[in-house]
């Protein structure tokens, strides 16, 4: 995964997340939108085979990098919870 920040202001960020696909980006986007401080969160993969995904986040005041970090932490939490619940149920 290599990140390239294309544009960044205090409330907006446009970042290319190289080597990733819808798997991470779509879940990350939905996690970002769960945050009430995030106004816009969207991503685009211009061409399915040759392009890298570009994520755009606009927040209401908070640093977008912080918003992404928190969204990603929430994602980790959700899947960790799934893992523990599933493992527990599956081992019975």
């Amino acid at each position: 995964m290599d990140l390239k920040v294309i544009e960044k202001t205090d409330t907006e960020i446009l970042v290319e997340i190289g080597g990733e696909s819808h798997t991470l980006l779509n879940t990350l986007k939905s996690s970002l939108l769960d945050d009430p401080r995030v106004e816009v969160a969207t991503y685009d993969i211009k061409h399915p085979t040759i392009s890298e995904p570009i994520l755009f986040v606009k927040t209401a005041g908070v640093d977008p990098v912080v918003a992404i970090k928190e969204a990603s932490a929430r994602l980790i939490e959700v899947y960790e919870e799934f893992k523990s619940v599933f493992s527990e149920k599956a081992s019975i």
Binding site: T27, V65, S72, A73, L75, K83, S87
Partner: protein, 263 residues
Amino acid sequence: MDVEIIELSDDNARFVLTGVNPAIANGLRKSMLSEVPTMAIDYINIYDNTSVLFDEQIGLRMGLIPIITDLDSYVLSEDCDCNDEGCTKCQLTLTLSAEGPVMVYSGDIQSSDPNVSVADEKVPIVELKERQKLVLEAVAKLGTGRKHVKYQAGVACGYKNVPVITFQDTCDACGKCVDECPKEILRIDGDKVTVTDPLKCILCRLCVDACDIKAISLEEDDSSFIFTAESDGSYPAKELIVQSADTIIEKAKLLNEILESIE
């Protein structure tokens, strides 16, 4: 979040996941299909091939054979310390030699690692007639389903929303929907109709169409998912599901680390 397991065998799993949003469920499905590292043959060195198949066809057939994946002892070749040169941490060597007349199966492949072998021993490779020979060495590596289908551990992974069938008070228990239902999950219970097993519903809406007084409504629960996961044998189904969640966690952690460093 809750998980209810309907069925769990070595290479098959069905479970109901409730209390998550569709993106989380979809991430899990996509991860099972294309992000979980899986062992598969990358290339073969052919010493002798007098069988009826071309070398390239043998190559494809070898590539598609599922191999048991051991993530504790192997790493993805791009993450390996050897810089993709090939070492025992990122590569597994297998050999196959057979002389006709015989049917060559995947079970004839000899692995250099006693802990790792082919997942299914009954995959036919080629039939050798008298005096025909096949001698080759295969090198297996870890990869992800995004690169090639041979690295796809989850072969039939998907989900659908849990159907919610509700009957209005106007229902007169005429029984038309009961006759129509192909899965036979509706039952007349006194003066109303009940659903015996909503998980079996295939959302065909035949019951809704059959009802003359429009007393049935069929909806999908947006936060509950009936998952089906089938493994090709590289992982037990349970491990595949856990591993798919792990893969996303690792990606998210890596993203956080990188964001930390650019700040």
